[in-house]
């Protein structure tokens, strides 16, 4: 495959022509904040945290779904991007009910870590305080919509790694939510294989092992990547 030459934050790099800006930046040791991106599944550009500036293009582009091109000049750390990232995180926090202190994912939450790293010490927007329920009908796992970002990681791992197709998104805008099968209690799902990949993929405390208490939800995402890599490289075929 051909290589492309481009610059990210003034650093000249070369990247595979199929690579995304996010992958190219990672190879060059440049970290771009992400939230909906998950190693092992395809990207959807849902969270808008990885937006970057590309010279000559007026709108901002998501690094996770934009392919590199020859001669691209990319900036990942301009004042405008930093401002937007912070705003995005504040909007995410204001949209549902995130209460870190009593959350099962406290200390292990990607939203919390990102907000901390981006200096979100308060939220300037009015909180929506929507009334979302907890689905605790499943034998092993629980889903708290109050903590969901709609990153759709759970949907993607369910369809494309496990192949069960239990998880999906219903509704639009602020009313969108993750559902199981035909919008029924998770515990009544015929398709769920109880594999737990969705729980492993969730960046916040929205999906959790039942019975988890404060700060207890730690996830092992390497397992997802391990399965995908083993499949792609046919490591399990003798």
């Amino acid at each position: 495959m051909a290589a492309k030459t481009l610059t990210i934050d003034g650093k000249q790099i070369s990247a595979d022509e199929c690579a995304t800006i996010l992958e190219a930046a990672a190879d060059a040791g440049i970290t771009i904040p992400t939230l909906c991106h998950l190693e092992g599944v395809y990207d959807v550009g849902a969270c808008r945290l990885c937006l970057v500036e590309v010279t000559g293009i007026s709108k901002l582009l998501p690094a996770c779904t934009t392919k590199v091109a020859e001669g691209m000049e990319i900036r990942t750390d301009t004042e405008r991007l930093i401002r937007y990232r912070r705003m995005t995180l504040e909007l995410l926090l204001a949209e549902r009910n995130h209460v870190c202190a009593v959350c099962v994912a406290n200390g292990h939450c990607e939203l919390q870590t990102l907000a901390f790293n981006q200096g979100v010490d308060h939220v300037r927007y009015e909180y929506c305080f929507p009334k979302w329920e907890v689905d605790n009908s499943h034998a092993l796992f629980g889903m708290d919509h109050n903590r969901c970002l709609l990153c759709t990681r759970c949907v993607r791992v369910c369809w494309h790694i496990e192949g069960a197709g239990t998880k999906n998104v219903s509704g639009r805008g602020a009313k969108a939510r993750i559902i199981s099968d035909l919008n029924q209690p998770w515990g009544t799902s015929d398709t769920c294989t109880k594999c737990g990949k969705c729980v492993m993929a969730c960046p916040t405390g929205a999906l959790f092992y039942k019975g988890s208490t404060n700060s207890e939800m730690e996830r092992d995402r390497d397992k997802l990547e391990f399965i995908v890599t083993a499949r792609e490289k046919k490591q399990w075929i003798a």
Binding site: A101, V134, N136, G187, G211, T213, N214
Partner: protein
């Protein structure tokens, strides 16, 4: 002309409250009420949450006694899972509760009440606080503050942090004691024993110098309730409930705390967000009972540890039957500090505290679970009802300060009646009335589970309800 006096806010207590004193035409006290003006609504907003999250949520009710809520909540969770937790987990929970008793009681005595007792009622408010105590009795204040630190460090060594540790969970606890933790706690023991002795010696002098206060600060007959073990020994986490009356006779014993609703009713009063529980066989308000250190010592036949036992014997001589003066809550608190230190020392010898078998696992086996534990201020009940998935459908929390509500009203009335004559209400007098409340070491954030403003107000109220005089004290005063 008749009037109403309002003390708002009541200071040096945990939370926000006011006192209303109702005067008759001659300017003498008709009645007095203690109002808790906070409203928090924990019971409501916890509905819909998984019960397993409650030990993380309920400690947020209070920064002084989060451990009490943590333990009661975890116990309610044990009951929903219908498990018997590993013995090591029970012992570790007990150790943390003892740390909580020590730190909370030390705070009540040294930081909040000692300024009144040692500096005097008439000391000007700017000096009548812990800073005034530090200036005049430096060593004592330091010892008291360090005693509290000892209790806090026990909590931190087990739970990872001093305040709001999410360490006890339904089914057990998350981690055991470490060797460093044990060594750290042991190193404190000589110092805290010494502080406890200094405080008790000091209180023996206060018993002599405060005879009038013992007579009028909440000295009236009532029931007393607390946990005791099968032999009637002082309990703080486990055991069964016992009620004694003012003659000291046991009127009900070995009651199953999980079935509290069979013998405790809850009355709601218009003037306060506090619910007023009562012993239901005697009805309301005759079933008024007190909880907390005074009550626990009144229901206990023995303390179970030698040094505290010797003090209990002295304490029991202060009453005919039960010890009925709420002023002696202070004494009971100091005895409980000593008992807790002794129990901590004994617990450290137990190798089981290092066990790895700490957590029982189960699904939802009971739709209702009640967790009961003695908090520093009195018996604490967490009562949860869950659906099949373990989501809470009903939450009822009965806290110590609520149970002492009726007794606190009676205490402020008694003190106000003694001191207020002909509309004459000098400031130090208000402080005595407030101290009547401090005897109970009430925690109002707990009791209302609160959104309110900190400041105390005393209102003088006429028979027709007109407020004739409001005496306000702002923040920063004591």
């Amino acid at each position: 002309m008749s009037k109403r006096i309002v003390i708002d806010p009541v200071t040096r207590i945990e939370g926000h409250a006011k006192i209303s004193i109702f005067l008759d035409d001659a300017g003498n006290v008709l009645d007095a009420e203690f109002h808790v003006v906070e409203f928090r609504g924990f019971e409501k907003f916890c509905e819909g949450r998984p019960f397993s999250e409650m030990p993380g949520i309920t400690p947020r009710i209070c920064g002084i006694c989060p451990v009490s809520h943590l333990l009661a909540s975890a116990k309610a969770g044990d009951a929903i899972m219908a498990v018997k937790i590993p013995p090591a987990a029970d012992k570790l929970r007990r150790l943390m509760n003892l740390g909580q008793f020590i730190q909370s009681h030390a705070l009540s005595f040294f930081h909040l009440s000692a300024p009144d007792l040692l500096l005097g009622w008439d000391t000007p408010p700017p000096q009548r606080n812990v800073f005034g105590l530090i200036a005049s009795n430096t060593e004592l204040a330091r010892a008291g503050i360090r005693l509290r630190q000892f209790g806090q460090e026990i909590i931190e060594m087990l739970g990872g942090k001093k305040i709001h540790p999410a360490w006890a969970v339904p089914g057990g606890v998350r981690s055991a004691l470490t060797n460093e933790g044990r060594a750290g706690i042991r190193a404190w023991l000589p110092e805290v024993y010494a502080t406890s002795k200094i405080a008790l010696d000091l209180f023996n002098k206060i018993l002599e110098s405060h005879k009038r206060e013992i007579q009028i600060f909440g000295n009236f007959p009532s029931l007393f309730m607390g946990l005791v073990d099968a032999e009637g020994t002082w309990e703080h986490h486990g055991g069964k409930l016992r009620f004694v009356d003012s003659s000291g006779s046991v009127i009900a014993d070995q009651l199953d705390p999980q079935k509290y609703y069979e013998f405790i009713g809850e009355a709601v009063q218009k003037s306060s967000y506090l619910k007023s529980p009562y012993y239901s066989p005697l009805g309301f308000p005759d079933g008024m009972y007190r909880v907390g250190p005074l009550a626990r010592l009144n229901v206990s036949e023995q303390m179970g540890t030698p040094k505290a036992e010797a003090e209990l014997k002295k304490f029991k001589k202060l009453g005919r039957g039960a010890v009925s003066s709420s002023f002696l809550y202070h004494y009971a608190r100091l005895i409980e500090i000593l008992a807790s230190i002794e129990r901590v020392e004994a617990a450290l010898e137990d190798p089981e505290l290092f066990s790895e078998d700490l957590r029982a696992d189960a699904g939802i086996n009971s739709s209702r679970g009640v967790g009961v534990s003695e908090a520093p201020r009195g018996t604490l009940f967490h009562d949860y009802t869950v659906d099949r998935g373990g989501l809470l459908t009903k939450v009822n929390l009965i806290v110590a300060t609520g149970q002492n509500n009726l007794a606190m009203n009676q205490t402020v009335t008694q003190i106000a009646r003694y001191y207020i004559r002909n509309h004459d209400v000098p400031e130090p007098l208000l402080n005595r009335i407030e101290h009547g409340i401090r005897c109970y070491d009430p925690c109002l954030s707990c009791s209302t589970h609160a959104v309110g403003q900190m400041p105390l107000q005393v209102r003088l109220i006429a028979p027709d309800g007109a407020v004739l005089k409001i005496i306000n004290r702002g923040l920063g005063q004591s």
